[in-house]
């Protein structure tokens, strides 16, 4: 049995990277665009994807227009090595090749990163809907138009995105691929919901958010938006109920400081000031330690180009030792689609370098090795920066929301003072729940919360607190 496994491993390893004899022969020819094209195609066929990239880029930079065969090669190269392989190319070169759907997507991504929405939208319109990058292109276009406040056009793009990604999802032979397009489809639903929310159509937004299944990767992230939506509908009990979902053990690695602010605000709107104050105090206690733990790491290693990436690869026990929160943060970052795709590409590049080192000595081998080392260096810095930025963003968020919490606290104190001036008090010192205070539609679930979380109930909780906003003369309160 062991022998069989060894043979299989050897055979698979051998097949993973073929020889570069043919590529070496081509490399001996005098340097020309035609040679670069042939080399990139040959290396691609031998599965040296990252090495093929260098020659492909040379060819793209020199040629006026790409032929369909080469277009198919670069589309696959983009899938294998990630969008950043092309999106960081010289913008002038990319702009020249907008007829190529692959390079149009790369340029569209770059422009949207630079918030040049018009240019991004224009470039992405070159990607046909039925192209394999169609769903991404439509989603990006929707976002660009959304930012440009062209809601009708954005809605149309998102609808197309849902349609094409659903088709690819249904036809996908591999589960992972299907899941990827399911996420894009759900993201487009969420973006539609966000447009409705921005326009104050909270009922429509509610329906769109509800179309995201609880098993979805996106589900934990949209709970906050669902809670805000309930808050805007003045259904504070529902808002509090949705937010309580974050306390379930399945979501222990998720941190949303904003959810605490919304919780405090919801209590505040129900005039349950003491509950609001408790939420605020808990926020300071809970997030101060997290902020301190993160800050100490950030300050020590902020100039390092590798530390944070090493942290991602480190065993759980090691990150746990730094702070349990750091471990959870690493889990969260690993879950990001972009990051996980880039990380897979990074590992592939490392693997490719190992195989190149084993190749017989040749000029091409040295060139490929040198190129790939540079690529790996750049990708290490890029991924390291991504993790560092996520951490910095989080610390900044904690500080920002501390300020908002302080504001709520001040407002509560001011309201209390006003009551004293008026010689009044709130009707009840602490109003508690009742089923009578629930707002529920026929298709909305209702579960009693008895200190346990059930997966099928998540996100459907609602509190039943009575508003305490009625003022009475001092001494009349219950």
């Amino acid at each position: 049995m062991k022998k069989l496994v060894l043979i299989l491993t050897f055979t698979l390893g051998f097949n993973a990277f073929a020889s570069i004899d043919k590529a070496s022969e081509i490399y001996k020819k005098p340097q020309s665009l035609k040679r670069d094209r042939e080399l990139s195609i040959e290396l691609f066929k031998s599965k040296y994807f990252f090495s093929a990239l260098a020659f492909a880029k040379n060819y793209i930079a020199g040629v006026k227009e790409l032929d369909p065969e080469f277009e198919a090669v670069i589309a696959k190269l983009m899938i294998k090595t990630g969008t950043m392989s092309f999106s960081y190319m010289d913008r002038k070169i990319l702009k020249r090749h907008l007829k190529s759907p692959t390079l149009a997507l790369a340029y569209g991504i770059r422009m949207s990163q630079l918030k040049k929405w018009n240019e991004s939208n224009k470039a992405l319109s070159n990607v046909p809907a039925d192209h394999r990058f169609g769903p991404e292109a439509r989603m990006l276009q929707g976002a660009a138009l959304n930012m440009l406040m062209k809601d009708n056009e954005a809605v149309e793009m998102y609808k197309q995105c849902i349609k094409v990604s659903k088709k690819i999802e249904d036809d996908a032979a591999k589960e992972k691929l299907g899941r990827y397009y399911a996420i894009i489809k759900e993201s487009c639903f969420i973006h539609l919901g966000r447009i409705e929310y921005r326009n104050g159509n909270y009922e429509e937004a509610k329906l769109l958010y509800r179309s995201i299944p609880k098993t979805s990767y996106r589900f934990p992230y949209i709970l906050m938006e669902k809670a805000w939506n309930a808050y805007q509908r003045e259904d504070y009990n529902r808002s509090l109920g949705v937010l309580v979902t974050y306390k379930n053990p399945l979501m222990s690695s998720y941190f949303f400081p904003e959810s605490e602010v919304l919780r405090a605000l919801s209590y505040f709107k129900l005039c349950l000031w003491e509950d609001s104050m408790v939420t605020i105090e808990n926020y300071y206690k809970r997030y101060k330690t997290k902020s301190d733990a993160l800050k100490s790491i950030l300050m020590k290693h902020k100039r390092s180009h590798t530390y944070f990436l090493k942290l991602i690869f480190a065993p759980i026990e090691e990150t746990e030792k730094l702070h349990p929160y750091v471990r959870n943060m690493m889990t969260q970052i690993r879950k990001k689609i972009k990051f996980s795709i880039d990380l897979v590409s990074y590992k592939k590049a490392q693997n490719e370098l190992k195989f190149i080192k084993k190749l017989p000595t040749s000029k091409l081998k040295y060139l490929m090795e040198g190129e790939l080392k540079e690529t790996l260096k750049w990708r290490t810095t890029h991924l390291n920066h991504y993790i560092k930025k996520q951490m910095f963003d989080f610390v900044n968020q904690i500080h920002r929301f501390s300020y908002e919490m302080f504001n709520i606290k001040l407002e509560i104190l001011a309201r209390k003072r006003d009551l004293v001036w008026e010689n009044k008090q709130l009707i009840s010192s602490r109003s508690r729940g009742s089923h009578e205070n629930l707002k529920r539609e026929s298709d909305e679930h209702f579960y009693d919360f008895r200190g346990e979380f059930w997966a099928d109930e998540l996100g459907d909780y609602s509190f039943g607190l009575k508003s305490n906003c009625e003022k009475v003369r001092v001494g009349v309160a219950k």
């Binding site: 990163q113 894009i184 972009k338 407002e411």
Partner: protein, 92 residues
């Protein structure tokens, strides 16, 4: 016509006379005008009388009015644009 002629002659003759008068006063030297003010003035308020009718109530009273309250701009969410941008940055 005669009257008009007489009036014109009189006016023409009167101007040199006035000029001559100013010149003569300059020639005699400047007269010092001294203005004197009172150092202080005393008002006997008790003695002052104000004419009119009294409209205010006789006893001391405060009119009740509601206190002006200022509310802070609490945190609110108008849109999720930040999340949209985050989504597309994390796309592929």
């Amino acid at each position: 016509m005669k009257k008009l002629l007489t009036l014109t002659i009189l006016l023409v003759l009167s101007n040199p006379l006035v000029a001559q008068d100013k010149k003569s006063s300059k020639a005699t030297g400047k007269q010092k005008v001294i203005y004197k003010y009172r150092k202080y003035e005393k008002f006997d308020l008790g003695n002052l009388e104000i004419k009119g009718s009294i409209v205010a109530p006789g006893d001391l009273s405060v009119k009740e009015r509601s206190r002006r309250t200022f509310s802070r701009d609490l945190y609110d969410r108008d849109n999720f644009n930040k999340e949209v941008i985050e989504d597309i940055r994390n796309l592929r």
